[in-house]
């Protein structure tokens, strides 16, 4: 009984905040609503007996991602408006597609025999750690390499070029390339 109520609350929170993310006119509002969504997801994880993941979710997502997003929004502002516009277009076909997809997944779920009750489980984070560093060690190591690459890559992509010291190949220079100034497509 309790769990059904809890599920209902979490579900409502998730869906409502997600809707606000995609419909909000203000970009900052969208980011903040995303934060709510991510936090609700963490609660959902708790309901599903995954406390470690829930904490990871809070730390990385609601903490890191939201911060990152806000940075991005602020760094790419046009003009001095406080209300950052967040345009949407082509809503019609998007709606159709999303409804169709929802229908498809729901149909798949409904047509598949799925367990009704969760088996009893002991929450054991240490076991999780053993799983990660045991059978899935390779993935873990690759992941760390990937994260390194991502860090370097992000820096390379976003760094500001100094005109007098430009080590990039001539064809790849961007902000000195005159044809990109007007910003019009060919």
């Amino acid at each position: 009984m309790i769990d059904r109520i809890a599920f209902g609350i979490v579900a409502a929170a998730l869906l409502l905040s997600a809707l606000r993310v995609v419909t909000s006119k203000n970009l900052v509002h969208s980011v903040l609503w995303l934060g709510v969504t991510l936090a609700s997801t963490a609660v959902a994880y708790l309901l599903l007996s995954a406390p470690f993941i829930a904490s990871i979710q809070i730390m990385l997502y609601t903490g890191g991602i939201i911060t990152l997003m806000l940075f991005g929004v602020m760094l790419t502002r046009r003009g001095e408006d406080l209300a950052i516009p967040n345009d949407t277009s082509e809503g019609g076909r998007a709606l159709v597609l999303s409804l169709a997809t929802f229908g498809l997944f729901t149909g798949a779920v409904v047509m598949t025999p799925l367990p009704l009750d969760a088996p009893s489980i002991t929450v054991d984070t240490a076991e999780l750690g053993r799983q990660i560093l045991g059978p899935n060690l390779m993935a873990f190591e690759v992941l760390s390499v990937l994260l390194l690459a991502v860090m370097v890559g992000a820096i390379v992509i976003a760094r500001r070029r100094d005109a007098s010291v430009d080590h990039t190949a001539p064809g790849l220079r961007l902000d000195t390339d005159p044809s990109s100034e007007d910003g019009s497509a060919s």
Partner: protein, 604 residues
């Protein structure tokens, strides 16, 4: 190869070779008189072969040769053969054709003297081609080859009627002849198809059963009605007089128009099984005989008189064949060829002298042109069927057989036509050769020897040909005994009366208006009512049908093609919009594709 086959091949292919030579070597053709003489030479050779062949056949009267080679291979055997059929019927006709063709070509040497060289060469090339085409028809062993010859003579007729193609009336006449006969030829084509589908071949000796035989012969008769100018498809023959007079003599009197009659004679085994067709033939033939004779009485153009006369005489032949008398039809065909060709050439001589076709420009020519007048008289009395002339024998035979078959009304029609025949020929003779000379006739004189020789040459069989009827009948596997009794001579009263009537009206050689009885018919004939009717039918059916087919072709057939092109182009334009360069569109497409693939995978 036996002698008859060789002779037949010579008769057939020497003129053909000459025609090909003149056709393919324009410098030779354009020399004019030399080309003409070459053609005459070829015609002479052909005539010689025909005479020899005829004599040889006389020695073996009942011989029946058939030599053919397989032509269209089909399922192992041959679908159709090409070859020669040498028997009494074909040999006789061969002689007639080559003799008249020879006379006409010689005559043309003088008559067409004033033509430019290139045209003269063309003229004689056509003549050589005609001999070949007609003999292909005559010597054909089956209906398919006969059809081949039939179409070729139709083509030659078109070419020769339209010889003066720069003259609009001549060009129109040529086209009219071609169209009318072509329409009728569909009957022949359909007959071939029906015959083939029922008997697997084109032989006229087959026995497909009474119904099929009736159908086939009726279709064949349709073609004959066109080619032999029977009512109602006779309309092209008077117009065909636009061609040079020698051409009228050869094609439209003696040979080509007789091809229809020849067809019926040849395919007699089939017609013998079709009583209905024969009935139809009797009535159409006898009607045409008297109908055309009436119209001939009111014509002022000498060639037109002879044209309608030909129509009428062909009607006699058709009626005779319908009554079952093959001898009557065939015999009259041969005698008619001689005296009608003679009459046309005689008319040609007169026309050449006075430079006009109208009889009002002639008159009193007897003093100036005794030879022409004499042969013209010979031809006229033979045509009328006066006693002891060739025409007498053949016409009498026809009248007798009609009477014997018990058909009284047609017999009366034929009798009436005989009266009128004498009447209109008498009219022509008196108007042309007696009476006062017109201005144009003052300077008339006989033509050169080239014109006189054929006249004499043709007058002989025109007068005496009848006596040999019995002799030749054996060659045609027919019984014929001319009877010399009162009953035989009785019908000759009719032409005598006809001449008397003509003398009474035109004896003084003055042109008088047509007798009151015939005036309305004269008006009707001149009005071209039948032509207007045909034109109307063509407008209503033909043009509308053509318009419908054209519409279908232009908008539906072409429309489909154009539609395909249009769809490709606009489809391309539309599809091009997928390349919008817009990243979000691409994202959408990818998302949609994933959805679609998942759905497909799930629902399968």
């Amino acid at each position: 190869m036996s002698l008859p086959i060789e002779l037949a091949l010579v008769a057939l292919f020497v003129p053909a070779a000459m025609a090909v030579l003149l056709a393919l070597v324009p410098p030779l053709r354009r020399t004019g008189r030399p080309a003409a003489w070459l053609s005459v030479l070829a015609a002479t050779v052909s005539l010689g072969a025909a005479v020899w062949l005829f004599a040889d056949q006389l020695a073996h009267p009942t011989r029946d040769l058939l030599e053919s080679v397989a032509w269209l291979p089909h399922a192992g055997a041959s679908m159709a053969d090409v070859g020669l059929r040498i028997d009494g019927i074909s040999v006789g006709m061969t002689l007639v054709v080559t003799l008249v063709a020879f006379c006409v070509q010689v005559f043309s040497l003088d008559y067409m003297r004033s033509e430019p060289d290139a045209d003269l060469g063309r003229y004689f090339a056509y003549h050589s081609f005609f001999i070949f085409s007609m003999l292909m028809l005559v010597l054909a062993p089956n209906l398919l080859q006969l059809f081949f010859g039939w179409e070729l003579v139709g083509l030659t007729s078109y070419l020769l009627i339209g010889f003066y193609f720069k003259k609009p009336s001549a060009a129109k006449a040529a086209v009219k002849a071609f169209w009318v006969t072509k329409l009728a030829d569909t009957g022949l084509l359909l007959a071939l198809l029906v015959l083939y589908s029922h008997t697997g071949g084109f032989e006229w000796t087959s026995h497909p059963g009474a119904d099929v035989a009736t159908l086939v012969t009726l279709l064949l008769f349709v073609a004959v009605v066109g080619k032999s100018a029977q009512f109602p498809l006779h309309v092209w023959l008077p117009d065909a007089m636009e061609g040079p007079t020698p051409v009228s003599a050869l094609l439209h009197a003696a040979t080509m128009v007789a091809a229809g009659v020849y067809l019926i004679v040849r395919t007699d085994p089939l017609f013998a099984q079709a009583a209905l067709t024969r009935e139809v033939m009797v009535y159409i033939g006898s009607f045409t005989a008297i109908f055309a004779a009436v119209i001939a009485c009111v014509q002022t153009d000498i060639k037109k008189v002879l044209a309608y006369s030909t129509c009428s005489q062909l009607g006699y032949m058709v009626a005779a064949l319908g009554a079952g008398s093959v001898m009557g039809g065939y015999f009259h065909l041969t005698t008619h060829a001689f005296f009608k060709a003679l009459l046309f050439l005689g008319a040609g001589s007169v026309i050449h002298a006075v430079h006009s076709n109208e009889m009002s420009d002639m008159g009193g020519l007897w003093g100036r042109m005794k030879l022409t007048g004499t042969v013209f008289l010979v031809g006229s009395i033979s045509l009328a069927g006066m006693p002891f002339t060739a025409g007498f024998f053949s016409k009498d035979l026809i009248l007798e057989s009609m009477l014997e078959s018990g058909r009284l009304l047609p017999w009366l029609a034929l009798l009436g036509a005989a009266f009128l025949t004498a009447f209109y020929m008498g009219r022509v003779f008196f108007l042309v050769f007696l009476g006062k000379r017109s201005e144009k006739a003052e300077h008339a004189h006989e033509g050169g020897w080239e014109m006189r020789l054929p006249l004499v040459l043709l007058a002989i069989p025109a007068l005496l040909g009848g006596y040999f009827g019995a002799h030749f009948a054996g060659m045609w596997h027919l019984d014929y005994e001319p009877e010399w009794n009162l009953q035989a001579f009785a019908p000759s009263l009719v032409p005598i009366l006809g001449f008397v009537a003509a003398w009474s009206m035109y004896g003084r050689g003055e042109a008088r208006p047509a007798p009151a009885m015939l005036a309305p018919i004269a008006r009707l004939a001149r009005s071209g009512a039948l032509d207007h009717f045909y034109e109307g039918v063509y407008r209503v059916l033909g043009l509308k049908l053509a318009a419908a087919v054209g519409f279908f072709d232009r908008y539906i057939v072409d429309g489909l093609i154009n539609l395909a092109g249009y769809l490709t182009l606009t489809g391309g334009q539309r599809v091009r919009r997928l390349q919008s360069g817009n990243v979000r569109d691409y994202v959408f497409v990818v998302a949609f594709a994933i959805f679609a693939l998942s759905a497909f995978g799930m629902l399968r």
